[in-house]
Point group: C2
Chain length 410, copies 2
């Protein structure tokens, strides 16, 4: 087993915020404080951007109270970046790290961040510069490979599930059709979480559409018509990334069908502005198709937006603990002989006995490609989510609010 | 003091949901169970609509566990309605209540609901039918007269404040201009709550626009330019109901300025669809005006939507207790001699000594007209909120999440 090398450590946070990305930061800082080989602990401001621009935060000697407050704060406390470094950019990263005698590089992020660490790590190896490089997983999308699930997902899932629970009661009190658009461009993990708090067979969401299944507009209308005819209301969960069988975003097809002008830029790409466009277009379509049968039909849509990833004070306790553990474990791996890798979770208990243990994954196995929601966790009709997903995701939320109903007719 | 008359009681819930509207329902039910004069407790399904259609729920003998679960559930457990009864409709309400020997009528809602109870009460008086009629206040808009504040507001304020806290950290991590549209067609109470969790002078929201101040588009652009130039980012809170000095919704003027086609219906009213239109238009305008100076400026908008009124599991504890108290107090008033009225709050302590006591308000003083955010609680420039509002609103949230920051440069 290799000894811990002497030198400085740096931590960066990349990509979109989560409610627990700072738990991983603080877990890593706490573990680094315990390690004699680590001299200075630096933070990279705005991720890789801050490394190449040499904008660093001093993370030495922070007191427990500050650390705890930061850990409980959503969104990257170090600042983040959307930069996806190419080889040249990675070279500048490596040069900046080498200049500061960084021997421990921790990068909290998704699959693109794993790829960045992989490239920087290879450059260090080629240069014969000894540096331990660890990726710490983070994404509300839950789409990283190898690991059972990703820190950040449980809190976002709790938020989405709770939003649907309350909104379902809202829809029950003032019946109509309600469309909620959930984050997830390529994978339906977060949209699937809409079902986690569903009370019984009459509760919403009644229909769930994820990017893993090609969206068929006529089938959608038939689905809504069936539910509305049966219950007099319908709550619908839709991933922002749903696309038709050719892969074209649903918004484009809907805009054309509804007679909206679709603008294209000089490259021929469709320009669709409007933060609520998908929900609005689906709502307009439903109104258009059902208004003959139901004259006063009430149709509304909401697009949950950034609240899903950065709402304060509502993180999953399980997610918080696991994110902290992931940060801490990355340091333990890096300082006890492991050269590089990504921290991953293995589930070692189900239901009430739910627990995880960490293991080291290879950077190349986590980098770049992502993981979809398994097709068998989506129902055959492609408009609902199976119990197997609920069993998988429920423990990650740390528990959901309880709701009650009144039913007895007088 | 009049004796409690023997007979049945009915409770209804009207208008838009809140997180604590069922606390008031349960408070009333619990108090009615303790009253010997009350024979049966009925619930009106979907408010006045259920009364005239004789759709009732049996609320007798519900166990404590069910009541507690219902109390903690957002949105009217009895179902709600948007109906605004005229005199003829009120007559049918009264006839339905008389038929069921209702002697206690409790109606949870906003100013329109207070007006309904006022009319029904007058009809009962004219008919010589003895009935005690109480309005129990409820609205996230906080716009009822007489009372210090309204049950439902504290929870919505807590949600909006927490959303802005997290989103501000998000905006700090990935800098740009972020516009958040908050509920409130006529009054800025809820939008003002965006400032409650603001950490320090650099934290957002940096600009706040409420309907009480006429919106000036050019001044808005100048405000954003100033903040963005100074901080490199800008988080903005906007009420959905902002209008220009002629009272025209801002969306209409923006649509014309941005070159969008503005459709008008057969009555000449502007038709603006799009759940995110206001935020999107403001965002497009900012991009258009600032892009020459800042080429890669990042502008995003979110419209918080229904989550503000019905999110599950995040109610203000203070609001929950007060809503329960309002329901209970309405029954105490009705069964101990008071004939009619609305329950109102009087604040009897400030800051850490915050407390309320209830008093009876006249229905006519609560009905119809509403209460704006005082002009002196908005800054002179009309783009920010004063400390006096924070002192007023903070206790109603029951406390906000704590957030932390890292600041020391290396």
């Amino acid at each position: 087993m290799a000894d811990a090398i002497k030198g400085n450590a740096i931590i960066g946070q990349s990509g979109g915020p989560t409610a627990v990305i700072n738990q991983s930061l603080v877990g890593a800082i706490e573990a680094l404080y315990e390690c004699d080989a680590v001299e200075n602990v630096l933070g990279a401001q705005n991720a890789v951007r801050g490394i190449v621009e040499e904008r660093f935060l001093d993370l030495n000697g922070l007191d427990a109270e500050t650390l705890e407050a930061v850990a409980n704060t959503p969104a990257a406390a170090l600042g983040s970046s959307r930069d996806k470094p190419d080889a040249e950019y990675c070279k500048r990263i490596f040069q900046s790290l080498e200049k500061r005698n960084i021997r421990y590089f921790f990068y909290i992020g998704g699959n693109d961040s794993a790829d960045t660490t992989r490239i920087v790590n290879e450059m260090a190896n080629e240069a014969g510069y000894e540096m331990r490089v660890f990726h710490i997983p983070k994404t509300i999308d839950n789409d990283l490979r190898v690991t059972d699930h990703c820190p950040g997902y449980g809190s976002a899932a709790k938020f989405v599930a709770s939003a649907f629970m309350g909104d379902d009661r809202d829809n029950n009190a003032l019946p109509g059709i309600k469309i909620n658009v959930v984050m997830g461009r390529n994978a339906g993990w977060l949209t699937a979480a809409s079902v986690l708090g569903r009370g019984d067979v009459d509760c919403g969401p009644h229909l769930v559409y994820v990017p893993e299944v090609a969206f068929d507009t006529d089938k959608f209308i038939a689905d809504v018509r069936e539910v509305y005819g049966r219950l007099g209301r319908c709550q619908i969960a839709v991933s922002e990334g749903i696309a038709d069988e050719t892969g074209m975003p649903v918004t484009v097809g809907l805009a054309e069908r509804l007679g909206h002008r679709v603008e294209r830029d000089s490259h021929g790409n469709v320009q669709l502005s409007g933060s609520g466009a998908l929900g609005d277009f689906l709502g307009d379509l439903v109104k258009q198709e059902l208004k003959q049968q139901y004259k006063t039909i009430r149709v509304r849509s909401d697009t949950f937006g950034y609240l899903q990833r950065s709402f304060a004070g509502f993180a999953s306790e399980v997610d918080q603990k696991e994110a902290r553990l992931a940060g801490r474990t990355a340091v333990q791996y890096a300082t006890s002989g492991d050269i590089d890798g990504s921290v991953a979770f293995n589930r070692i208990g189900e239901g009430e006995n739910y627990a995880v243990e960490c293991f080291r994954a290879e950077l190349k196995d986590v980098a770049r490609e992502t993981k979809d929601l398994p097709r068998e966790w989506i129902n055959e009709a492609g408009n609902g989510i199976q119990q197997a997903f609920i069993d998988y995701a429920m423990p990650l939320t740390g528990g959901l609010p309880k709701v009650g109903q009144l039913r007895k007719m007088a």
